[in-house]
Symmetry: C2
Subunit: 202 residues, 2 copies
DNA sequence: CTGCAATTTTGCAGTCACTGCACAATCGGC
DNA sequence: GCCGATTGTGCAGTGACTGCAAAATTGCAG
């Protein structure tokens, strides 16, 4: 199965339980934020709903923010791998468009969780600072991947990091635009934004 | 004097004292972070060095991060005004290049404080998440200004926000590049980055 | 210069995120 | 079933941040 990479990589009982606990915490966090609001949720509640102790919460996530956002190292690696191995005739920017749009699309595996994520990350403006902080991780992972793809040493050229940063910023701008009641639909705006980047702007 | 806008706008004793306290807190925060590290500094220390109570600290800044970053509403307004009133024959992107580069340059008023800021914001990677969070404020202010300059209603078009977001992301990418030991000098890289944005990339 | 109203400062008590540490529980391999 | 290693948990503590009410300061009018 193609989903094996994301769900069952190393299949000891230990690994599986960790995965489940992490997922339960992420899910509990998302549900609670949806019921109340980000500020009104405590880490103790999240831990309780996930069925672990308050202390264990911090064995899985370094902060409350991280638990709500929930990006795993595996997801990051998957995105990086997808960027590193280019699709036939696809420019770096086109790859980034595909990958970043895929992060928002609830069409892949884990449909309900992804949909919930999207709903909350788009709907809770108070998470914006945490989200852009998380984007740094994504930027670093994707930059390293693009450097490998282009065969340049890390930091040797500004171009890979710049390309990744602009792509992420474009998506973020579309999200912000959406949250502020801006015109247009999200996916369509993202497409337009990438077209603008490719064409250059003034 | 041309510096009046930033230093003496409303010159009651009350206003002046508030300004001084704010500045003292920002300066104390920067100095302490430079002496130790961001994590090792407490808000109590900052307040003590600035000569105010621990409680008063939070009357001036909503968080420790904000005290270190120290962007004032007036600075934001000044940048916005500078973007709104276009210079002869300067494209929006060119205006943004000038304004954002000016934020990093210690050549304007308040030379020592600006230089200290620059040194710390470039040298303390643990501040990166806070910085990008702060960038949201800057993005919103500049977006609104650009919308006014272009004569479009807020949120009517994606373009203003996209332009601002890309410009900020470019500068941030250059800073990150610098911090990771990347090639080239900062100012030069920023120039190149803006040229790439204008020309389009793949 | 003097009292009055508005603003600002401060102390206090409290909540909550987060951490180190020591110990208990659990798991994987033998 | 046993042992080493990993993981879960309780406890105690630090520090960021908040609301509240009293005290100090400022601007102003008389």
């Amino acid at each position: 199965m193609s989903t094996d990479q994301l769900t069952d990589e190393a299949c000891g009982l230990r690994e599986r339980k960790k995965r489940e606990t992490r997922r339960a915490l992420n899910l509990a966090a998302l549900d609670l934020v949806e019921e109340k609001s980000y500020a009104a949720v405590t880490t103790e509640e999240i831990a309780a709903r996930a069925g672990v102790s308050a202390r264990t919460f911090f064995n899985y996530f370094p902060s409350k923010e991280a638990a709500v956002i929930g990006t795993t190292a595996e997801e990051l690696e998957a995105y990086a791998a997808s960027l590193e191995a280019p699709v036939e005739g696809e420019s770096p920017l086109a790859s980034l468009r595909r990958i970043l749009a895929g992060m928002l699309a609830p069409t892949s595996v884990d449909r309900d969780l992804r949909a919930k994520r999207r709903r909350i990350l788009l709907g809770e403006p108070s998470l914006a600072p945490a989200l852009v902080g998380n984007n740094i991780r994504i930027e670093n992972a994707l930059t390293a991947a693009l450097e490998r793809r282009l065969g340049v040493l890390p930091g040797a050229s500004l171009e890979p990091r710049l390309t990744v940063a602009l792509a992420i910023a474009a998506v973020r701008a579309c999200i912000e635009h959406q949250q502020n009641g801006g015109a247009g639909r999200l996916e369509r705006n993202i497409d337009q934004a990438f077209d603008r980047i490719a064409a250059g702007l003034s």
